[in-house]
């Protein structure tokens, strides 16, 4: 077990290192490089810029600069936003919660709805339900998130008036119910693709297990069908789903980009698009690095969970 996790940990660290290299390279490739934030300041002369570059150590060898930059990255100094000079990590942190709420709710929807649909589809294979949800999943996967978001707002907010059209909560009214009410629409939109993916993988994973010899053994013991399905089929079918869940993190992050924009949800996705609009490179770069770290952490968590759940790996 420990050798497996050690290997994955080292792989993750290498990945993080590569991400940091790319982040550094991008920072220096942006128009004007790290100095661009001052280049447009009125009254800034070329001499001023050269002096600034010297002060900031930009004329030293790149490897040295990289090490310094990396050191700052590790100590949490990710630079300052061009827009309001607040620290990048602080800007990201203030938006992280909203995105995580959305991602977690969407994941819960995917696991519960997609999981249920996948399990029932596998148990009642080729039934009307199975065929119906198979087509449903295909449709869901081919709908653009942006368009689906607009449809949800149009139908549930504009036409039916059931859901607020966006934003995390109206000013001055911050009860939990109101918050959840606002969460429904965007979570549904963000969760759609993941739910569809989850249901397909769940179904095929269940079908893989359902014909295993040990499931027949369980039936031969005379156990009830419910115990056979839950304890013997589902328990094993969930193992590959842990990996799938880890791989869903990037899908959710890119989905959040669109969803948050459509629903004016104050999360990292909207921050990203806003920052690109303002050419706020430190924030853009910070977000890229941060999401890369999130993805890597997601995969690492999935690996750890897998080890815990599968005795064949745990007890190697």
């Amino acid at each position: 077990m420990s050798s497996f996790l050690t290997r994955r940990l080292i792989q993750s660290l290498i990945l993080l290192w590569i991400v940091s290299m790319i982040g550094f390279a991008l920072l220096h490739l942006t128009p004007g490089g790290p100095l661009s934030q001052f280049a447009n300041t009125p009254g800034m002369s070329d001499e001023d810029l050269t002096r600034l570059a010297e002060q900031m150590g930009l004329n030293r060898p790149l490897p040295v600069q990289y090490l310094e930059w990396f050191g700052r990255l590790l100590t949490g100094d990710w630079g300052r936003s061009y827009r309001d000079q607040s620290p990048v990590l602080y800007v990201i942190g203030s938006r992280l919660g909203a995105t995580l709420q959305l991602m977690i709710t969407a994941t819960l929807i995917a696991v519960i709805v997609g999981g249920f649909v996948g399990v029932v589809g596998a148990v009642r294979r080729y039934s009307f339900f199975d065929q119906f949800v198979t087509i449903g999943a295909m449709v869901a996967l081919s709908i653009p998130t942006f368009w689906f978001g607009l449809v949800v707002i149009y139908v549930f907010s504009v036409k039916l008036g059931w859901l607020p059209p966006g934003n995390i909560s109206p000013v001055g009214n911050e009860s939990f119910i109101v918050f959840v009410h606002h969460l429904i629409g965007p979570s549904m939109v963000l969760g759609l693709v993941t739910t569809a993916i989850w249901s397909r993988f769940m179904r095929s994973s269940m079908l893989d297990v359902i014909n295993q010899d040990y499931v027949r053994t369980a039936r031969a013991k005379g156990l009830s069908e419910r115990i056979v399905l839950v304890r013997h089929v589902l328990r094993n079918a969930l193992l590959p789903m842990i990996t799938i869940a880890g791989l869903e993190v990037p899908t959710l992050l890119s989905g959040a980009l669109v969803t948050e924009t459509v629903f004016t949800w104050p999360g990292m996705g909207r921050l990203f698009l806003d920052s690109i609009g303002y050419r706020d490179y430190p924030v853009v770069m910070g977000l890229l690095t941060f999401t890369a770290i999130l993805v890597i952490i997601g995969n690492l968590l999935a690996d750890i969970l897998y080890v815990v759940a599968d005795p064949r790996i745990r007890l190697q």
């Binding site: 010899d213 040990y214 053994t217 304890r231 193992l239």
Partner: protein, 349 residues
């Protein structure tokens, strides 16, 4: 290889009566009858061996008895399988409710499967898998069931059972897994144990140990055993009676002594000739004969006697027109061969 009938109790009503069992699978190439009109009895306390080459329908027959053939997808299971239950009632396993078959499985009929490596669930401990049937059927606490599981593992000869109940299947060797499978099957003290080639995946010494174990358990509990194998050496050692299957049909049925002493069906004779014998190893230069040809493709069964393309006694228009019936040659010896009298009388092929 001297047949030694053990404790055959021929008297009393049979424990299990299989009548005209037919199992059809629907595949891409149409219907395939894997088992075709099979009838036999299992008597209380006896060991009935089911032998035949690969694909003859042995496993399908046993799965049908457990009612574990999936009936979905156009598969069909016909005939009747009457079990005398502990309560004294006789029920048709193919007709009872789901609840009743569930109650019977494990507690009255249990099965050891052919594949020891894949028949245990990889994510549950051995102890949990032995105990779960006990918990389910007898409604005892998990702790009490685990204590019984320790005893069962000890009974099937697994060393350090206290420790082994906490092991997962991948931590056990093939032989130990097969023993664990036997413990799972014995957990609720069935009176019929179906052992589907319980030893083929194992090496010779472990095979012998498992056979001894099953025989010892049978002496203790008086259960009946249906023992499936294609190893006739094993049959001679453990069986009271033998059913020989070929292409989904029973082709010969006899006590172990008459079957080995006077096999009547050319197929059985061929099987016996292909078994290595002790007196051969001591220098006699009699070659081992494999039966020529192959088991017929179930989608293209030969007309008449399914064995005729491989049979030295084959007579055109006699053997390849109608399927011969299963005829009694002796009260305890039946054979399905149009020429069994000639074969028995030694008329040369």
């Amino acid at each position: 290889m001297t047949p030694q009938p053990t404790t055959a109790s021929a008297d009393g009503p049979p424990l299990l009566e299989v009548r005209d069992l037919t199992v059809e699978f629907r595949g891409q190439t149409g219907k395939v009858a894997a088992v075709n009109g099979v009838s036999f009895d299992v008597r209380p306390g006896e060991t009935l061996a089911l032998v035949g080459e690969s694909g003859s329908g042995k496993s399908v027959t046993s799965l049908a008895i457990m009612r574990l053939i999936q009936r979905a997808g156009g598969n069909r299971v016909g005939g009747s399988i009457r079990l005398r239950r502990r309560s004294g009632d006789t029920v048709d396993l193919l007709a009872v409710s789901e609840d009743e078959i569930r109650e019977i499985r494990g507690t009255e009929i249990a099965m050891v499967f052919q594949e020891p490596m894949t028949s245990l669930n990889p994510v549950h401990t051995i102890g949990a898998q032995v105990a779960e049937g006990i918990v389910f059927h007898r409604r005892v606490s998990r702790k009490a069931a685990l204590a019984e599981a320790v005893e069962l593992l000890d009974l099937v000869g697994i060393p350090e059972p206290q420790r082994r109940i906490r092991n997962f299947p991948h931590q056990l060797s093939g032989g130990m897994r097969q023993r664990a499978m036997i413990a799972v099957a014995l957990a609720c003290k069935p009176n019929l144990l179906i052992a589907d080639e319980p030893t083929t995946a194992l090496d010779v010494t472990i095979q012998a140990q498992i056979l001894e174990l099953l025989q010892g358990l049978q002496r203790q509990t008086g259960m009946s055993i249906v023992f499936i194998t294609h190893n006739l050496g094993v049959v001679a050692e453990v069986a009271d009676r033998v059913l020989v299957m070929y292409a989904g049909r029973i082709v010969e049925e006899a006590g172990v002594v008459p079957l080995f002493g006077r096999p009547l069906m050319p197929y059985t004779q061929g099987l016996l000739r292909s078994v290595p014998r002790l007196d051969m190893m001591s220098g006699a230069h009699e070659e081992l004969e494999a039966i020529p040809g192959n088991v017929p493709d179930p989608t293209a069964m030969p007309a008449g006697c399914a064995f005729h393309p491989r049979c030295a006694h084959f007579r055109p228009s006699l053997c390849d027109t109608a399927v011969p019936g299963l005829e009694p040659a002796d009260p305890e010896h039946s054979v399905r061969c149009a020429r069994w009298r000639d074969v028995a009388a030694g008329v040369p092929a």
